[in-house]
Amino acid sequence: METIADFEVQYSQFLDPEGKPSADIPALATDTEKLLDMYRLMTVTRVFDTKAINLQRTGKLGTYASCLGHEAAHVGIAAAMRPDDVLAPSYREYGAMLCRGVTMTEILLYWGGDERGSDYAGPRNDFPMCVPIATQCLHAAGAAMAFQLRGEDRCAVSINGDGGTSEGAFYEAMNIAGARKLPVVFMVVNNKWAISLPIEMQTASKTLAQKAVAAGIPGIQVDGNDIIAVRHWVERALERARNGEGACLIEAVTYRLSDHTTADDSSRYRKQEEVEAARTVEPLIRIRQYLMDLGVWDKKKETKLLNDAAAKVDAAVEKYLHTPKPDIESMFDHMYAQWPEQLEEQRQHAIRYGGTNGDSHG
C-alpha cells in the first residue's frame, strides 16, 4: 500500500485570551484604526444583544437568539468583506450584519414578527437571516456562481453553525464550490453546541475544518474569539477567491455563552462551570487588553464607548417600538410581482376581517 493523499488541518490564533500577541501576528494587528473600529462594533453588538434579551423578557420582542460570545467571529467575517460582496448568514450573526450596514431596528423588527426587518436599507443584495439550518450555504454558492458567470469581482460568504455542518446542504454547497472553483467562503462558527447537542455528539470529526477535505477545498480552523485571526483568514480566503482560486472553509471556534434562544434553558443540558470557563476566554477581553497595551485604549474611552453604544441602541429600540404593525394587505402584496386577480377575493376577505382575531397566544 502507498499513501496517495495526505491531509492536515491548521489552526491559527494571533491573540491569546490575555491579549498577548504571537510572534507571527499579521499586519492587520498594527492597523489600530481597523482594530478600534472592530472593537467598537463588537461592543455595540454586545450592548444591543443585552438589550434585545431584555426586550424579549419584558414582552416587547419575540423569541430571540443571542450572539453573546460570538462577537469576534461575526464582526471579523464581515469586516473582511467588501461592500459589494454578498453575505448569507444564519440567524444570530448580528455583529456581521451590523458591520454590513443592517440596522439594529431591522434586526428587532425581524424578531418582533415584522417582515420589514428583512428589507435591508443598507446591504440590498445580502440574503436575509436563514432559519432552516445550512440551506443558505447553497445560496452563497449560487451567488458566487452568478458572480463567476458574469465575470464580476465579487465573493459570497455564508455562515452556519457546528450543527449545520451535519446537514446535506452544507456538503452539497462545498462540493459544487470545489468542483467549479466558486468565489465563496463558507464560515462555520463552531460555538460547541447545537441547542442541547454538544459538538462531540454532532460528529466524530476532530475538526469541522477538515470537512473541506472531501470537497477538495482548503479548510482551516481559527480561534473564533480572536478577531485578528478571524478577519485575517477571511481576508486571505476572499483574496484567493477573487484570484480565481476558488472556495475555502473556515471554522471559527468560539462558545455560545447564552442559552440557544430566549425559549431555551441551557441549564437542562450543560454545566455552568463549562460556561464560566468559556467566559474567561471570551472575545472582547483580549482585544480590549491588546488595544490598551498598544496605548490606544483606556478606561475613559471605554466608558464613552459604552455610553455611546447605549444611546445608539436606545434610539434603535425606540424606532422599533414605534413602528406600527404592518398593513394586513402586506401579507398578500409581496407574494408575487403581481397578486393574481383570481385570489383577490382572499385579500378582500382578510382586509374585511383585519384585526378582529384576538391573540390566542397562551
Binding site: 419575540g62 423569541t63 440567524y91 425581524y110 424578531w111 418582533g112 414578527g113 415584522d114 417582515e115 437571516m129 432559519v131 432552516p132 439550518i133 450543527g163 449545520g164 451535519s166 446537514e167 446535506g168 447545537a194 441547542i195 442541547s196 447537542l197 455528539m201 454532532q202 460528529t203 425559549a263 431555551d264 437542562r268 443540558y269 404593525k325 404592518p326 394586513i328 402586506s330 401579507m331 398578500f332 407574494m335 385570489l343 382572499q346 385579500r347 376577505h349 382578510a350 376581517y353 383585519g354 384585526g355 378582529t356 382575531n357 384576538g358 391573540d359 390566542s360 397566544h361
Partner: protein
C-alpha cells in the same frame, strides 16, 4: 387517572410503548437530555437510556432515512422533527421510500415508523415555525397522516400510530399542546385511526375541522348554539386516508357543509373533502360547500399571524351564510 395536557399525553404514550415494546426507539434533535424543545420526550432518556432515546445530529433527511432503515429491519422508530418547517428534507425519504417500501417489495420490507412534528401558528414563533402543510403529506400515497386535537386522542392515536405496520406522519397542533387537560388513563389502549371523531352532534349543518382549529370551531358552534343553531362538528383526525363515510352520513342528515382549516386554501385537505362530498353526496346538499381557511400566502410573521388564521368570527359568519342558502 391523571389530568394531563396534550403534550403530556404524547409523552405518556411514548413511555408506554418504550416500556412494552423493545423494538421502539425515539430519536431526533434535542429529544434526549433536553427532552425535546417542547418537552414532548421529557424524562424518556433518563428512564429508558441513551440507546432507546437518542439525540441525533442535525439533519432531517438523515433522521427520516435512518428511521426507514431501522423500520425495514424490525425496529419501530418514533422520529421527532423539531418543527414542521424543517420537515421538508424528509420528504424525499418519506415519498420515495417510506410510502413505497411495502408496495415495491410486495410486502417483503415494510416501514412501521412514526414521524412526529409540531405544526401550526398562533404561538408567536419565529419565521418557518408556524406553517400547516399537512396536505402535502396527505397527497402522498402509502402513508397515514394523523392529527390529534385532545389529550385523550393524542394518547390513543399515538399508540395506534406506533403499532401500525405502516408509516404514519403524526402532526401535533402545538398551539394546543398545553391549552387544556383531560383525564387520560395510562392503560396502553390505542384509539382507532382512519376514522373521524364527532365532537358535537347536530342536525343543522356539518362542520369538518382538525387540529387546533377544533377549538375555534367549537367556540363558534357554542355561540351559535345559543341562537338555537345545532352544528355537527367532526374532527377529521386522520387526514389521510379520510373517513368519508362519517362525513357523508352527517351531510345526509344536515344538508350543509363547512370545512375549517388553518392551512392555505389552495389544494388544502378541505378541497379533497369538498370533492368527495360533491362526488358522492351532492344530492344531499341544500347549498354550496364552504371553506374557512388560511390564505394562499406565506404564513405572516407573528405581528400579523392572527389575521391569517381562521377566527371564531370568520367561522360564525360562514356557517350563518351557509344556513341562509
Amino acid at each position: 387517572m391523571a389530568e394531563v395536557t396534550l403534550i403530556d399525553a404524547l409523552t405518556m404514550a411514548m413511555a408506554w410503548e418504550l416500556e412494552h415494546d423493545p423494538s421502539v426507539v425515539v430519536l431526533g434533535e434535542d429529544v434526549g437530555v433536553n427532552g425535546g424543545v417542547f418537552r414532548a420526550t421529557a424524562g424518556l432518556q433518563k428512564k429508558f437510556g441513551v440507546d432507546r432515546v437518542q439525540d441525533t445530529p442535525l439533519a432531517e433527511g438523515m433522521i427520516a432515512g435512518i428511521s426507514i432503515g431501522m423500520a425495514a429491519q424490525g425496529m419501530r422508530p418514533i422520529a421527532e422533527i423539531q418543527f414542521m418547517g424543517f420537515i421538508y428534507p424528509t420528504v424525499d425519504q418519506i415519498i420515495n421510500h417510506a410510502g413505497r417500501m411495502r408496495n415495491r417489495t410486495r410486502g417483503r420490507l415494510t416501514c412501521p415508523m412514526v414521524l412526529r412534528a409540531p405544526f401550526g401558528g398562533g404561538i408567536h414563533a419565529p419565521e418557518h415555525h408556524s406553517e400547516s402543510t399537512e396536505a402535502m403529506f396527505a397527497h402522498m400515497p402509502g402513508i397515514r397522516v394523523v392529527i390529534p386535537s385532545s389529550p385523550t386522542r393524542a394518547y390513543g392515536l399515538l399508540l395506534a400510530a406506533i403499532r401500525d405496520p405502516d408509516p404514519v406522519v403524526f402532526l401535533e397542533p402545538k398551539r394546543i399542546y398545553r391549552l387544556n387537560k383531560q383525564d387520560v388513563e395510562d392503560n396502553g389502549k390505542a384509539l382507532p385511526m382512519d376514522v373521524c371523531y364527532i365532537l358535537r352532534e347536530g342536525s343543522d349543518i356539518t362542520v369538518v375541522t382538525w387540529g387546533a382549529m377544533t377549538f375555534e370551531t367549537l367556540k363558534a358552534v357554542d355561540q351559535l348554539a345559543r341562537k338555537g343553531i345545532r352544528c355537527e362538528v367532526i374532527d377529521l383526525t386522520t387526514i389521510s386516508p379520510i373517513d368519508y363515510e362519517t362525513i357523508l352520513e352527517s351531510v345526509q342528515k344536515t344538508g350543509r357543509l363547512v370545512i375549517v382549516h388553518e392551512a392555505a386554501r389552495t389544494c388544502g385537505v378541505g378541497a379533497e373533502i369538498a370533492a368527495i362530498v360533491a362526488e358522492k353526496g351532492i344530492y344531499d346538499l341544500q347549498g354550496p360547500i364552504r371553506r374557512v381557511t388560511g390564505y394562499d400566502v406565506v404564513m405572516p410573521l407573528f405581528r400579523r399571524e392572527m389575521d391569517y388564521m381562521p377566527s371564531v368570527g370568520k367561522i360564525i359568519d360562514v356557517i350563518q351564510e351557509s344556513l341562509e342558502d
